[in-house]
């Protein structure tokens, strides 16, 4: 009994220390990544290739889910606002919830599971098949050649994907509420335009998605780079990427929202 309690306690302590160690390693990884970034930004072709793989190939899922999320928001908003006779405000509801929250967060979660997992698996496999070691032997820094282009590609792609997601969502909301449910189109747009502030809503959403892009790609590249060089290790690292970047996105979203929202307007 006592022995089992002691062992559980030891395991909890071990896991905790392991996590602290990982956070420290990730910070060091980030610094090395920044130092290696100069080379990869000079050879921009490498970054463009990765933007194609993580950004362009994520477009379909982003566009389609943006449309669906906007349509659902339009339907739900119409249903609720109708009770108060304020169905014209559905445009405000759709635009504000997409720009402030859903655009950056849902696009970030999709990006983490679509592109983040692929990055981790790719780097992990390169490590398992000793391609990274081979590069090191040829005096090619894997940090500058493999990791940094993927990081910058994510940082570039994420805000663009979030903006596309929000725009598609607003379009979806427009289709459902104006075309299908018959809300007046003029009021839909004018109420939206008077409620949405460029600096306060649009720019803050872009800042959020930018931060999420940094977080997701740092986690994805670190997990891949840190993965045990076995099939099991790579699969575990891929899972960890999706789980921890989703959690980090949601936690960062809370912090950023608390920083950005001011009650006075």
């Amino acid at each position: 009994m006592l022995e089992r309690a002691r062992r559980t306690l030891a395991r909890i302590g071990h896991n905790f220390i392991d996590q602290v160690w990982r956070v420290g390693a990730m910070a060091r990884f980030f610094v090395i990544l920044m130092a290696a970034s100069g080379t990869s930004l000079r050879r921009f072709r490498l970054v463009m290739r990765e933007v194609y793989f993580s950004g362009v190939l994520s477009l379909i899922i982003i566009v389609v889910s943006g449309l669906f999320v906007g349509m659902v928001l339009g339907l739900q908003g119409y249903e609720t606002l109708q009770t108060y006779g304020a169905q014209e405000s559905v445009g405000v509801l759709v635009a504000l919830s997409l720009l402030r929250e859903l655009g950056p967060v849902v696009a970030g979660l999709l990006f983490a599971s679509r592109a983040g997992s692929a990055i981790t698996a790719e780097i992990g496999l390169m490590k398992a098949t000793e391609q990274l070691t081979a590069m090191d032997m040829m005096a090619v820094s894997p940090m500058a050649r493999v990791i940094a282009p993927r990081f910058w590609a994510g940082v570039i792609s994420m805000p663009l994907l979030a903006a596309i997601f929000s725009a598609m969502g607003v379009f979806g909301g427009f289709v459902v509420s104006v075309v299908i449910l018959g809300v007046d189109g003029g009021t839909f747009w004018s109420q939206m335009q008077s409620a949405v502030d460029f600096r306060y809503d649009v720019v803050n959403g872009v800042i959020k998605s930018f931060v999420f892009g940094i977080a997701v790609t740092v986690i994805a590249t670190f997990e891949g780079f840190d993965a045990p060089p076995t099939a099991e290790g790579v699969s575990g690292a891929t899972t960890r990427t999706v789980v921890s970047s989703s959690l980090v996105i949601l936690a960062l979203d809370l912090v950023l929202t608390a920083l950005m929202l001011r009650g006075d307007r």
Partner: protein, 156 residues
């Protein structure tokens, strides 16, 4: 430099992203429509501004003629100073009055301007002297109850 398909995709992706941002800024956020026009600023002091907020509309005869640019508390007069940025296309007489009104029963609050009869126009930095504060619902109900009680007392 040779062109590859990747270049095309990268260009298309970045263009699509910026196009989405532009749509959000212009169509959704209405950037430029009322920021670009020239404005002039006038001040007005109110005893109580209720729930008036910065960027709230300023209307005259129901037409949008400007926006609230700034709200301050004047610590010498113990009044609120509201700075209105009015569209330069519209001129108002010096004795124009400003009141804080509510659109609809529960709608947002805005500043309503009623033009006076003065020959001179308001200019940058002028002060609107005739103002009417926001209606505070609690005070209105309190007044009503007070009057009601007085009536009942008179009957007895």
């Amino acid at each position: 430099m040779e062109r590859t398909t990747i270049d095309l995709w990268f260009g298309a992706f970045v263009l699509a992203g910026f196009a989405a941002l532009l749509v959000l800024a212009l169509k959704v956020g209405n950037l430029g429509a009322d920021n670009a026009r020239a404005t002039y600023r006038v001040e007005a002091r109110f005893d109580n501004i209720g729930g008036l907020k910065v960027r709230a509309p300023v209307r005259s005869s129901g037409v949008l003629v400007g926006r609230v640019a700034d709200i301050r508390f004047d610590n010498e007069r113990f009044q609120a100073t509201v700075v209105l940025a009015l569209d330069a296309r519209y001129g108002f007489p010096k004795d124009t009055s400003a009141s804080i009104l509510t659109s609809g029963l529960l709608g947002e609050q805005y500043v309503g301007l009623d033009a006076g009869g003065d020959d001179k126009k308001l200019a940058e930095g002028d002060r609107i002297t005739i103002t009417q504060s926001a209606v505070v619902l609690e005070r209105l109900i309190g007044q009503f109850l007070f009057n009601k009680a007085q009536e009942d007392g008179a009957k007895k």
